[in-house]
């Protein structure tokens, strides 16, 4: 039953992939079914941007569905929700009017709600699903408000009509609509400070669903931001781009800072998704600013960088979540402190996870490196906009992006190193088994795509520049080099991942040959790790995840505000001997403390006061009805 659902989703994914590739290549079509949806009918339009996001949905849904078919995490409740989830994600980019969009969006949220709640007996799971439902519906409220306002002011609920009517609207009106739409889409994308649902929902869901949520669903929030910022409302004033760029910078730095100190493998990956959405938004913001300043070549470059990172993140985040799922399935826990040594028991999973980690850490010549490089190159040319305030914003973006990429590398050294290397830290890890063939195949396929997207950058970037051009309406061709080298902005910067990959391969072989020729001693002897002569080595002597992140906790202490707790139980006989030490160093989330808790408290107190209206007396209720009647008569 669940396998049927997975296969249906895989079929939908395949169709989406094919249609999407067609869309990117330039085919465009429209489907209108008037009677299917109230208030406007079902209207689907394919254009290059929609095509790209369809490719995204299909490209991740296929391996995720194979994984689901082979995994034991599926339950009966996910059987229907999963294909509905995938199908609704396919409809969102294609939607051409408000009702189609909102219905598909809501279906997507509801389906994923049921998928997140796949363990209803667990309190944590219930809470995660609840927070997710509240945040996504708050976002939906903002979206509806913005879209309906736009519909009221332009007289139509179709996006094509908005595109035509936008120049006629006042700047204030467009600003209000943009803020509402951006709030809704940013909440879905997981931008700080609307991110609280992400680290709860993504770990709670089964891994193939997490892969889809992290890889594709949050990108639909980015899709919405792209449409709202560049398409439906026309080109906006500079403050839109500044807001997006700064939100992206803040999101990326804070996301990776939270990922660094987390010991739950899937929560770490969820925070890392927040970080990468931040990087994408840095590119989007830069693109919006360049577009507003009239520098079309740079705008296309920045948007292409953002779209590339969208593609890349979908690939390697899906790979990482599938790998994490295999690990969680094999060890029965998500806690990294209980893992270790899995590389010897799960070699395929480890190798795929290593490729994913290297890709997300932006190491050459993989795909993450190319998109971050493009983002840097786009940002570094900001002096063409001769406004010092904007230059400062760009400089902040550059510094933030550099800090983020360094911290992301540290984060994934921790994720891969603690989980897979050295000795197992618990019995469960010591007994782990390799993932079944279907899961392995899905991971290997995604790893191959990561490498291909990196080496094939010279083919991907021109396609993305075309897609970005279709979005901004600029059809001028931007030269991006030849088959071997990416060359941008007339000699400002060049890159050739293919040449680097070949050089790295040759340079890997060179020492091997040279050592053989130099007659170096062959073979090796195996012995225990050097421990200063101590008698035995146990896993308790290894570096723990908490210890690995400790320098970061100290350096960024002003942000984490850690609360160190140290409980020492002394031997009852003598205080010199220690029986047990318990050390915990949890970090507090400043958003929970300063934003959400006060807001919820305020809401609660207002609701409490409002209870006074419900007095329970029928006479008072009759008086309310009479007063309302008088008011309506007066207004009419």
């Amino acid at each position: 039953m669940a396998a049927a659902g997975a296969l249906a989703a895989a079929a939908i994914g395949l169709v989406a992939l094919v249609l999407g590739l067609g869309g990117v290549a330039g085919s465009a079509w429209t489907v209108v079914v008037d009677w299917l949806v109230p208030l406007g009918g079902l209207e689907l339009t394919l254009d290059p941007l929609a095509g790209l996001f369809l490719v995204l949905v299909g490209g991740v849904a296929l391996p995720a569905s194979f994984y689901a078919a082979g995994s034991a995490e599926r339950s009966a409740r996910g059987a229907l929700a999963y294909p509905v989830f995938v199908a609704s994600m396919c409809v969102v980019p294609l939607a051409a009017n408000t009702m189609t969009f909102v219905i598909a969006w809501e279906l997507m949220s509801l389906a994923s709600y049921f998928l997140v709640l796949h363990e209803p007996e667990e309190r944590a799971s219930v809470r995660a699903a609840w927070v997710y439902a509240v945040m996504t519906h708050a976002g939906l409220a903002c979206l509806l408000a913005g879209m309906l306002l736009m519909g009221a002011w332009t007289g139509s609920l179709r996006f094509a009509d908005w595109r035509a009517a936008a120049p006629g609207l006042g700047a204030g009106a467009r600003g209000v609509v943009f803020v509402l739409l951006a709030a809704g889409f940013a909440g879905k994308a997981g931008v700080i400070p609307l991110h609280v649902w992400l680290p709860l929902a993504h770990p709670a869901a089964p891994s193939h669903v997490s892969a889809l949520m992290s890889g594709v669903m949050i990108k639909l929030g980015v899709y919405g931001l792209l449409r709202a910022g560049l398409d439906w409302l026309g080109a906006g004033p500079a403050w839109w781009g500044v807001a997006v760029l700064l939100a992206g910078t803040v999101s990326s730095v804070i996301g990776v800072l939270y990922a660094l100190v987390d010991n739950d493998l899937k929560k770490l990956l969820a925070f890392s998704s927040i970080e990468n959405v931040g990087i994408i938004l840095i590119g989007v913001g830069a693109g919006m600013l360049y577009h507003g300043a009239g520098l079309e070549g740079l705008a296309l470059l920045a948007l292409a960088a953002a779209l590339y990172h969208t593609l890349n993140h979908a690939t390697f985040k899906a790979l990482l979540f599938l790998g994490a799922g295999a690990v969680v399935h094999a060890t029965g826990t998500r806690n990294m402190e209980a893992m270790g040594g899995l590389i010897k028991r799960m070699p395929w999973t480890a190798a795929c996870f290593l490729v994913g980690s290297a890709a997300i850490a932006a190491l050459p010549p993989l795909n993450g490196f190319v998109s971050e490089w493009l983002t840097f190159v786009a940002l570094l040319q900001n002096t063409r906009i001769a406004q010092p305030m904007l230059n400062l914003v760009f400089a902040l973006g550059v510094a933030g992006l550099a800090l983020t990429s360094g911290l992301a590398m540290a984060c994934f050294v921790k994720a891969f190193g603690i989980t897979f290397l050295a000795l197992p830290r618990g019995d469960a890890a010591a007994r782990a088994h390799e993932a079944p063939p279907a899961m392995r195949a899905a991971m290997v396929a995604l790893a191959v795509v990561c490498v291909a997207l990196g080496l094939g950058a010279t083919l991907v970037v021109p396609a993305l520049v075309t897609v970005a051009g279709a979005l901004t309406g600029d059809r001028a061709p931007v030269a991006v080099g030849d088959w071997l080298t990416l060359g941008v902005s007339g000699g400002f910067a060049t890159l050739s991942t293919l040449a680097i990959a070949v050089a790295l391969g040759a340079a890997l072989a060179l020492p091997l040959i040279a050592l053989r020729l130099a007659g170096a001693a062959r073979g090796q002897r195996r012995y225990e790790t050097w421990g200063c002569g101590r008698m035995l080595q146990t896993p308790r002597m290894e570096c723990t995840a908490t210890a690995f992140a400790d320098p970061f906790r100290r350096v960024f202490g002003f942000f984490y505000r850690p609360e160190k707790r140290l409980d020492i139980t002394f031997h009852p006989g003598a205080r010199y001997f220690v029986q047990r030490i318990e050390y915990a160093n949890p970090t507090r989330s400043i958003f929970d403390d300063w934003l959400y808790r006060p807001a919820l408290d305020a809401l609660r107190s207002v609701a409490h006061r409002a209870r006074a209206i419900q007095s329970g007396s029928a006479n008072v209720y009759l008086a309310y009805i009479f007063a309302a009647l008088l008011l309506l008569l007066a207004l009419a």
């Binding site: 971050e372 590398m409 400002f492 680097i500 002897r525």
Partner: protein, 314 residues
């Protein structure tokens, strides 16, 4: 075509063969300043040769990542030797990358070395890995901003382009931004190559180690490769400092005489930098680990100042 290949080979040879000599020279100078005769500058070669003849002992807790890391380190360094302008302004792989590529190639080496430190399963290795990635992560923004400052003047971030532009118009470098960027980059070099005051390369106390702690488990040919890669890292960083900020002497022509003169000029600049490093390491003590972020924040401030100086001083 042949000339490009020969120059590429030359750059790899100069970087690969010259790196141990650079490390040896710094060591000898430090010894002389301490009143000792010190080892010969050619000592690192003897050390490497001896290490090749030893049969490595590999820990039973490690995996293939541990054994592959020395090769990855050497590979990344050899590729950087093909991208950095050592003999000519635009070497064989100069088209393939720029300073951002270099930054990430160094990160590739750090990534694998940190994993190898964790792989040994010892407390020292994990501690070294965690400290190393903190330092590497905090040094990133400074590198990018320092390069931004230089690139703004030269209007390209391609290394060969910057070198050629500055060599053609030396007055572009007569700018406080240039000096500030140089100092910021120098501090980052100390952090990335593990020299004092960030990390003491000659320490024997494991609790004070950052880079050394990760290589405690390596022996034989693996240790030789790791030490060689480490020497090449210092060489490449110093060459960047020498040839990017003071590019006079670096030729664009693939002809033997200018290349030889360029090599001599590079040797001179490296000698000055090596002496400066030796003096610095003699008079400065190692910083406490949690003072290092303050040092790196200071270098970030310098880099930010250099960027603003580019705008303020035309």
């Amino acid at each position: 075509m042949i000339a490009t290949l020969l120059i590429a080979l030359g750059q790899v040879l100069v970087a690969g063969a010259g790196a141990p000599l650079l490390v040896g020279v710094v060591r000898t100078l430090k010894a002389r300043l301490a009143g000792r005769r010190g080892p010969s500058p050619w000592q690192p070669y003897a050390d490497l040769r001896k290490l090749l003849g030893k049969k490595p002992v590999v820990s039973t807790t490690t995996s293939w990542v541990f054994r592959a890391t020395p090769y990855v380190l050497v590979a990344t360094m050899l590729v950087t030797a093909l991208v950095v302008p050592i003999l000519v302004a635009r070497p064989a792989l100069g088209f393939a990358g720029n300073i951002i590529l270099l930054m990430y190639l160094f990160m590739l080496g750090t990534f694998f070395l940190a994993l190898a430190g964790l792989d040994s399963g010892s407390a020292f290795g994990g501690m070294g890995s965690s400290r190393e990635v903190v330092v590497a992560a905090l040094a990133e923004p400074t590198i990018i901003l320092a390069v931004f400052a230089v690139a703004l003047r030269a209007e390209t971030i391609n290394l060969g382009g910057v070198v050629e532009r500055l060599a053609r118009e030396p007055l572009l470098a007569a700018n406080p931004a240039h000096l500030l960027a140089f100092v910021a980059f120098f501090i980052v070099m100390l952090a990335e190559t593990g020299r004092l005051p960030v990390d003491n390369p000659a320490t024997h106390l494991e609790l004070t180690m950052i880079h050394e702690a990760m290589v405690l488990e390596y022996s034989g040919r693996y240790l030789a490769l790791v030490e060689w890669a480490s020497a090449m890292r210092l060489f490449v960083f110093m060459t960047l400092l020498a040839n990017l900020f003071f590019p006079w002497g670096v030729t664009s022509l693939p002809e033997p005489l200018p290349i030889l003169l360029g090599l001599l000029a590079l040797a001179g600049k490296l000698a000055v930098l090596a002496a400066a490093l030796a003096v610095l390491e003699t008079v400065v003590a190692k910083l406490r680990l949690f003072r290092v972020p303050e040092l790196l924040a200071g270098s970030f401030a310098l880099a930010l100042l250099s960027v603003t100086a580019v705008f303020l001083v035309p």
